[in-house]
């Protein structure tokens, strides 16, 4: 698998570090990691930082993760970038909403590195 540039979107800086660590433990070869604290900030970050993978929370201030996924296609070079949601919102209706909005995967918090591996690697393999 090629080196991966990832964007991690979560309003918790501690959770962003946990997600990055879990990606590395899952065997994802990270070339670069950029971060954002909400969906609106993430759309701005993407303009200057093209990425191969996005991991995104749902419940965030300013712009939530579902709205971010809906607006992702409006950012140049970001159409088709796979998004995996990582969230405490674990209900079926949230999963359906996320997948309908364009997310490719869904991980419920709390999560293990194995769960990250299980949900992220297939998405990256499909992309490559």
């Amino acid at each position: 698998m090629n080196k991966i540039r990832a964007l991690i979107v979560d309003d918790s800086s501690v959770m962003r570090k946990i997600v990055e660590r879990s990606l590395r433990q899952a065997g994802v070869d990270l070339e670069k990691v950029v971060e954002a604290g909400n969906g609106a900030e993430a759309l701005g970050v993407l303009k200057d930082n093209p990425v191969d993978l996005i991991l995104c929370d749902i419940n965030m201030p300013v712009m939530d993760g579902l709205e971010f996924v809906r607006q992702l296609g409006t950012v140049e070079n970001s159409k088709g970038v796979p998004v995996v949601m990582i969230t405490t919102e674990g209900s079926e209706s949230h999963v359906v909403q996320a997948l309908s909005a364009g997310a490719r995967g869904y991980i419920r918090k709390p999560f293990t590195p194995d769960q990250v591996k299980e949900h992220v690697l297939p998405v990256l393999e499909k992309k490559s």
Binding site: V14, R21, N59, M60, T88, K109, P110, F111
Partner: protein, 161 residues
């Protein structure tokens, strides 16, 4: 509280306590890599120095709070961040808020019939113990007192009837 509300609240307290305990243990085991031990809060009488809160709204309604000492919160942040990351005061507050958020989410995801009709707020963290808590939730409360690395952590769910 009306008699019906009191009965419902009592039933919730009995039914939901083991679910809350399981939700707490899972979060600590999976995200921090350690188990909590049950504690007798009366034996560890120290005023909480930090309180994290997350609101639940919808079919399950109330406030979940996590209260602990600065020492316990620092240890929680250390476990969540791992040895490769240094931690600041902001990290400690953030870690406690996120822990509270995950417990609330894990708890509501385990409740049958609640599913997507219950939403969580973003977490709030209060520093200092000199405050009074007045919740409009009138459905009683469920409380779990646990020991994390020898320090008391109290997790409380105040319910709306």
């Amino acid at each position: 509280m009306s008699p019906n509300a009191a009965t419902a609240a009592s039933s919730h307290q009995e039914d939901w306590l083991p679910i809350l305990e399981l939700a707490i243990q899972e979060v600590f085991e999976i995200m921090l890599g350690c188990r909590l031990e049950p504690a007798d809060a009366a034996e560890h009488q120290t005023a909480p120095e930090l309180t994290a809160m997350v609101g639940l709204a919808g079919s399950a309604c109330g406030i979940l709070s996590v209260c602990c000492s600065n020492r316990a919160a620092s240890a929680i942040a250390d476990h969540m961040l791992g040895p490769e990351n240094s931690r600041s005061e902001d990290h400690i507050w953030d870690a406690l808020g996120e822990l509270c958020n995950m417990i609330a989410g894990n708890f509501k995801n385990k409740l049958s019939g609640v599913d997507g009709s219950c939403m969580l707020s973003v977490p709030t963290v209060i520093t200092g113990g000199e405050y009074s808590f007045h919740s409009l939730a009138d459905g009683g409360c469920i409380e779990c007192s646990m020991l994390f690395e020898g320090a008391l952590v109290v997790i409380r769910l105040d319910l709306h009837s």
